[in-house]
Structures are given as structure tokens and as C-alpha cells.
Symmetry: C2
């Protein structure tokens, strides 16, 4: 206990230590919780679990749950199974919860990840009763030092009525010093965010706490859920190669240097493969400005390719976690974690001129992208930061395999069944077939590139058939509305998007 | 001539005066032109007309045409009729051109208005051979003083190979001093844009010219095409009243003060009616930060309601133009014109916390908005600045009448036929029926508000029928894909979206 108490350096907080069970009793039906956590990293673990235990013991209540992004530690799963969620925002990625969202058992508000803090600040969404925030310590002058993610924790601490801190002694104390906390003022009374380079510090090393709001401190000792990165398969590797090839062509054209521009990449195996592909490339002195740092970023640092990486969370595999935290001094000077409001802020993304690489579920012949809804209706995870990045980046790139389900689904369709990113925000699309550079092209100019470079050969003729029929009707964006979703309907009814030519429904 | 020459104060440019006809001969087939002009204001008039004359005399050539936004002076009409356009961007609003776009006779790239300068700077679109820019004068130290709009003129001057200046002696010289020119550096080498208040000057009074690029100066004497504002009809007035009512409720809830936040409003009669409605309201000390200043803003200044107005163009009716320029000293200290990159910049819009009011063609039961495409295919005008503003504003508001064509079209549909703004970016929708405040609501929560508050009563039951059937299929965003566009298809086939219940196609 002595060692634990040393993590609370602010003397007035020492006597606020409680058990997770006690803290959980403070939470009442109808309250709104703000939980730390972003892509399985730095999530509050003990109090949410104790809250679930109350439900499992028979209590009936529901709460709204705000987070940074997805949680690990099975929190979303347990919350969903216990049926204690009224509304969840701004992102999740958990199968049980996803199912409950899609059956309508609880509400999910799918938000741009840079927007949640702003909505809280403006009083435009329900205010937070309890912020429950993981930390590695509280400093003498009352700064909460977050752990492996920052996410929305600063805004939650600032705007919640009460704060519960979970000091997680399993998280490496070495993390102290890599956080940079900055919170914009109210709109209308706000200075420019002074960040002009990804490695620049603009704030404090921790979250300034209003001591009066700290209701309790709980000790925990539990590592983050490790990320589970699927190694690249052949198609994933081909997508990465095409994307690297596109970037090489941009260098040749003089639009980029071999140091590119700061890189953002979504989570997942394609992003990882792209970054890994850079290890053996001619690119050098790279910088990352992203939401999440995955294993590949550390491999690139080790390879001397990446000079600096800024994000709002560290989400590593079990093995990588051990390695990185085992020799953290190697990485300390090359890392900053920021609030997601800053990692994803349009002001910064546009100023720095990012290259943003995100995953699409499907895109259409005009370059509109669906990132979230399977068959237009069922939520997968959420839009996450993809909108923040694609709209404001220098290069908004979307990647996906051209087919799924052994070819019964084409990821390139006549009309996406749900629109998350409009053609205005999509610069380049890449599949294992190739890439289409859509910049400066009108819709009709985009179609041949997308079909011939990106669609799977087994669907090209079918796409041309749709487009040619649409062309007869004319328009800036030709469509045959009665057949626009025929591919999705065919999949639902016949198990495949493949249709006999001249017989599209 | 003596008086005219005095408008060229830079001595090294005095001998570059040419006729519009001569300047027009420099333009060759395949070139890209950057024309000044934003919403009928400050457009280059003489050289484009002389270029059309070349085509009418039998020459065959095509050019790409970049502008700020829509042009007046019949330029787009003449260009379209002469068939000399290969590609047009980023916006237009002219019936003949619109028709040629929709038949595919020339290409139209529909862009966020803040993006064009950035794409030029990054070399991501064809570079400009000739910038043709209207001015009221060139100063001794080589600043081009624009006229009634700035639009993209600064970027065109900076990135074009050659510049032709049209000094328009019909434009009031009193405009000198109201422009504030600022151009961000290349991405990666860029400071924050220092603007923190709408009335702040951050740049120069004119566009710094590279003298070597100024190929010719042409004198013109022709007023801008006046705006033609339709007076509000009963529905328009009701939309304005509901919107004012919403803002009043926000004040009561403590989320806004009676000075609101800086106002942006799109062009058109609803925007004008909303602004006029503020004259007799309790709101005071208002500030405008918009793209275009229309008549109503000057009425609000006269009424002592608006303290300051910033935009990138002045588009006035004939009568208002006379009045405003007849007593310009009254307004001078209350106006700034900026480049559209600054008036529409996400960094500034988010920092200032704008209230953005834009027009929808249609929106759906989940709050997705179509601003551009009639029946999903035919371009109306373009997305304009609506994406810049809606995504980044504090309050993104869209307005439309609930029905069109005597009720045969419902502007509220199950699924918009084209998506310009996703549900993530749409805070409030308003029709003459009422408003729906969508902030913080999941898709399923949005539906009842939109149907009951905004849809026309004659379509409510039909919308409920669609939604209830969709609900049986489940999902975050329930849909019946095979019926999603049935309303648009019914209109096309039967001339009305009204369908017998239980018989939606």
C-alpha cells in the first residue's frame, strides 16, 4: 500500500482512496459517465467492472457512456451484456455491444472523434456526472498523469461534476512526461492552437484537476488489453505496395519529398502493412501525427525511419508492449500523447498537411465512402477519426480489399449503401488491384479509374453495365436510382452481388 | 484615359495597358484560367467576354475555368453557350452551364470552397496559365486592390504563370481599405492563422503582385450583376421564425447569449428572411462571419443590430448597391472582405464557433442532407461553402421548405438521393413546419423529431410507414434498401412522391 500511496503526491487527495465497489455505488440510474480509454488503451477498468457487478447482482439502472473511442478490458462487452447502457458515444468496436446497437437495445451516437469535447464544452450533449479516469499518478501540484491514452479524458475532467481516478500500478510509470495536455477555451474567446510541428509541446504534462471534484481514488493493477494485429495476407500486402507506389509517384512529380508529410493511419492490418512497407523504402525522416500508435510505428522508430510520433493512444500487441516498456528510454524523446481533440483537430490536420490513410467498408464508382454501416443499416464500429482526417488532410486516402466473402461482395459498388465521406473528401482509393487518384476529377472522370484500377476484374463488366445505363440518363453524377442498391439487395436475397449481365435487378 | 491611368499607381505597369481583345488572344486551347468573382461580385468581365467573341468568330478551343464561386455578367452563360469550357470548378449557379454539366458536355468539379486554394498550393490540380482578376486599382507598391469580392483571387495571382488585371472604373474606389489579404504558407511550414475575432485584420490591403507575371492591364467600366432576391413568401417567413425561435430557446438554455455567435448564412431568400427577422428581435451586438454579404446585413447594420461583418464578397441588389456605395463611409469601419480560404477556413470557423445557416434541397429521416443533386443525379449549383461551415461550426443548421411542386415533392425523404452532409455534421434542420434539434441524438432518436416537426403533414404517415418497416429489419440506421429511393422513383414515374399507403414501390 505504501508504494501505491506514493502515486498520490497531492497531499489533499491521499485520504480519498476507496474501493472500486464503493466508488461504483455512487453511480445512479440515469447518470452520464465519461470513461478514459481510446482503442483499448488506458481505459478505466475497476469501477466500470464493479458497476457491472451491481447489475449482475440484480440492480436495474442505465447510464450514458462517453469514452475516447473503443475500450478494452471487456468493458463494452460487460456493459452491453448487463444491459446497463442507455446511450453510448462516440465510438465502439465490440461485437456484443454492436449487436445491441443494431437491435436498438441501446442508442449509439456515432461522432467525429474531434467533436465530442467541443459538444461538451458548448453544453450541446448531456453533461457528465462522473468522469472515471485511469492514471499512473497524481502529481504534487494536482496534475493527473494519464496512462497509455488520453482520448477525451481532459474534457471529461474539466466538464464532469465528479471525478473518480483509477491509479493503475500495472501501467509503466515511465510514461510520465510523454503527455501534452491542452484544452482550447470556449469558442469566441479562443487563441489559435499554437502547434505547428508534430513534436511540439504546447501544454502541461498532466490534466489539471479541480481537487473539489475528485470524489475518490481507486487502485488497480491490470494491463491494457493487447491489440491483436492480424499479419498481412497477400491482398493486404498488395494494397500496401500500391499505396507506397502512389507515394513514390508523388515524390517523382515533386508534390512530396522523401520525408512525405506527417502520417496518420487508422487501426488495422492494412495500416500496419503500409507502415511496415516503409521500412525497406527510400522514405526517410518520417513523422507520424495520428490517433493511435500501433506496433509498426515502433518498428519504424527502431529502423531509424520515423523521427517522431504524436497520437492520443498507444495500442500495442502483448509482445510489443513488453519490449517498448522494457526499454522506454529509447522512445521517450520521440513520443507525445495528446488529447484526441488535438490529435484530430481540423486546425492542426490542415496546417500540418497530413497524409491520412483510413479503411473503407465499401466505396462507389464516384468515390463516396462507407466506413461504418454493413449493407447501409448495421453499425460496424463508427466513423472514428476518419472524417476529421479525410476532410482536412493534404491527402485523404481510403483502402479496402476489392472483394469480400470469397467474391460474393464487391467493395466497389454503384452507390454506397451509407455515406460517411463524400466524393469531396476522398482523394485516393486503393485496393489490392491498384489505386485511383481522384484529385481534381469530376464524377464522370472518376468512374473509369475506379472501375479499371480498383474494382475486382470479376465485377468490372457489371459496374460498366450499371454506369453505361446511368450515363444514358445523364447528370453530373449519373445513376439509375431503381438499381442503385441492387447489388446489396442481390447479396441479401441471393448471397452474392454477382448478377447475370443485362439482369441487374 | 488620364483618370483611368491614375488607377495604376505602380509605375512599371503603366505601359502594360492593352485592350480586352488583345489580352484574349494570349489564351490558348487547353489552358487553365483563374477568374476573379464570387456570387456575381467582382468577376472579370471584359477579357472573358472577348474570349467568347473569339469562339463566336469561329475559333475552336477549350479552357479550364477556375473561379471563386458563381459569376455574374453572364460569363458562365456565354462560356457554356460558346462551348469553350473543358472543366469548371469549384462552383457555378447558371442554368445554361448547369445543363451542359448535366449532359456531360463539360466537366464540373464540385469542391468545398475552402479547398481550391489548398489544392493549387499543393499542385494537386492543373496549374493556372492566366489569372484574370478584377481590381479597382494597383497601388504604388504593387498591391492589386480587388473590387467587390476576393474569392480565390489571391491564390490565383500567387500560383498563375501570368496575370491579366481588369481595372473596373465602375466599381467604387471607396472599396479601397476594406480588403484583408492573407495567404497561408505551404503545409508543414505554416503558422496558425492569427485571426481570433471577425473584425481583426491579419494581412495586407491588397494582393501582392509579382510584377513580372502581369502580362496586361485592361480597363473596364461595368457594374456587377445585381442580386435578385425574391421577397420572402409565407413559408420562407415561417422557416425564419422557427429558426429565430430555436435561437431564442438556446439563449434561454444558457447555451448562447443575446449576441449569439458569429453568423454565417448562405445566399437566398430564407437566409435573407432570417437575418431580416433579427431586426425586430431581442438579439443585439451581432457579428457576421460569412462568405457573402447580402442586402439584409446592411439593413441590420443600419438598424444597429450588426456591429461588424466579414465575408469574401458583397452581393447586393441594384437598389442596395446604390445606397451602400452612396454612403460608404457609414459602413467602411464595419466591413472586411477576405479570401474565401480564410472566410471558409475550418480553423477559423471552429475557433470562432459560428452559427451556420445553409439551404438543403432535401434531407432524410436521419438528418443526412442533399444540397446539390436533383433526384440524386442532376447538379443544381454545387456544395459551395456549406461543407466548410456545417462540419466546423458550433451550430450547423439546414433549412428548406417541407414540400415543393405543390406538394408532389417532399423535401423530407427516407433516404436522400445524394449525400453532401452526413448526419454527423447536421445539428438542426428547419422547415416551415418547425425545427428538429438533432444534437446528441442517435439515428433512431432523430426520426420522430424530423417527421413530426419538419415533414409536411401530408407526408408524415408515409414516412412513418417506411420507418416502421425499416425498424423491423433493425440496424443503427434502419432502412429498406429496395424502397429507399422509391419516393424519387415515384416522382419520376408518376409525377408525385405521394403513394398509397402499404403500396410504396
Amino acid at each position: 500500500m505504501q508504494e501505491k500511496i506514493q502515486r498520490i503526491k497531492a497531499p489533499q487527495l491521499v485520504n480519498r482512496v476507496v474501493t472500486a465497489e464503493e466508488a461504483a455505488t455512487w453511480i445512479e440510474d440515469g447518470m452520464t459517465l465519461g470513461l478514459s480509454g481510446f482503442t483499448r488503451a488506458g481505459d478505466a477498468k475497476a469501477v466500470p467492472t464493479a458497476l457491472v457487478n451491481r447489475a449482475e447482482a440484480g440492480e436495474r439502472f442505465k447510464v450514458n457512456v462517453y469514452t475516447g473511442a473503443s475500450l478494452g478490458s471487456n468493458i463494452d462487452k460487460m456493459f452491453a451484456e448487463a444491459g446497463i447502457v442507455n446511450k453510448r458515444l462516440p465510438f465502439q468496436a465490440e461485437p456484443v455491444m454492436r449487436n445491441k446497437i443494431n437491435t436498438g437495445e441501446h442508442f449509439f451516437v456515432d461522432q467525429h472523434l474531434s467533436h465530442t469535447s467541443e459538444l461538451l464544452r458548448a453544453g450541446a450533449i448531456d453533461s457528465i456526472d462522473y468522469a472515471i479516469l485511469e492514471a499512473i499518478m497524481v502529481t504534487e501540484d494536482g496534475l493527473l498523469i494519464p496512462s497509455t491514452s488520453i482520448g477525451n479524458s481532459q474534457a471529461f475532467a474539466e466538464f464532469a461534476d465528479n471525478i473518480i481516478i483509477e491509479i493503475n500500478t500495472a501501467q509503466p510509470v515511465e510514461l510520465e512526461g510523454i503527455h501534452d495536455l491542452y484544452s482550447p477555451n470556449q469558442q469566441g474567446d479562443r487563441e489559435p492552437i499554437p502547434l505547428t510541428q508534430p513534436n511540439q509541446r504546447i501544454g502541461t504534462m498532466g490534466i489539471p484537476l479541480d481537487m473539489d471534484k475528485v470524489k475518490g481514488i481507486v487502485f488497480t493493477h491490470q494491463l491494457d488489453s493487447p491489440s491483436t494485429i492480424v499479419p498481412p495476407d497477400e491482398e493486404t500486402q498488395m494494397i500496401a505496395n500500391h499505396l507506397l507506389n502512389f507515394l513514390q509517384e508523388e515524390v517523382k512529380a515533386g508534390r512530396l519529398t522523401e520525408s512525405l508529410m506527417p502520417l496518420q493511419s487508422g487501426i488495422g492490418s492494412v495500416a500496419n502493412a503500409v507502415l511496415h512497407g516503409m521500412i525497406d523504402s527510400e522514405f526517410h525522416d518520417l513523422v507520424v501525427y495520428s490517433e493511435v500508435l500501433q506496433d509498426a510505428v515502433f518498428d519504424l522508430i527502431d529502423a531509424g525511419k520515423v523521427n517522431f510520433a504524436s497520437a492520443c493512444s498507444l495500442t500495442l500487441s502483448e509482445e510489443k508492449m513488453k519490449q517498448v516498456f522494457g526499454e522506454f528510454e529509447k522512445y521517450r524523446e520521440k513520443l507525445i500523447l495528446r488529447p484526441q481533440e488535438i490529435s484530430n483537430h481540423p486546425e492542426i490536420i490542415r496546417r500540418l498537411g497530413l497524409i491520412a490513410i483510413n479503411t473503407a467498408l465499401e466505396f462507389d464508382i464516384y468515390g463516396n465512402v462507407n466506413s461504418t454501416h454493413v449493407s447501409g443499416t448495421k453499425m460496424m464500429n463508427g466513423i472514428g477519426g476518419s472524417g476529421d482526417f479525410a476532410r482536412n488532410s493534404r491527402l485523404g486516402i481510403f483502402v479496402t480489399k476489392s472483394i469480400a466473402k470469397d467474391g460474393d461482395i464487391s467493395s466497389i459498388v454503384p452507390y454506397v449503401s451509407h455515406v460517411d465521406h463524400t466524393e469531396h473528401d476522398v482523394d485516393v482509393v486503393v485496393t489490392e488491384q491498384g489505386y485511383a487518384d481522384l484529385r481534381g476529377l469530376a464524377p464522370r472522370e472518376r468512374v473509369p479509374l475506379i472501375i479499371e484500377n480498383c474494382a475486382h476484374p470479376m465485377y468490372r463488366e457489371q459496374l460498366w453495365e450499371y454506369y453505361n445505363e446511368a450515363l444514358e440518363r445523364g447528370g453530373q453524377t449519373p445513376h439509375v436510382l431503381e438499381k442503385a442498391f441492387s447489388w446489396h439487395i442481390s447479396f441479401k436475397e441471393h448471397g452474392t452481388m454477382k448478377m447475370p449481365l443485362k439482369a441487374q435487378i
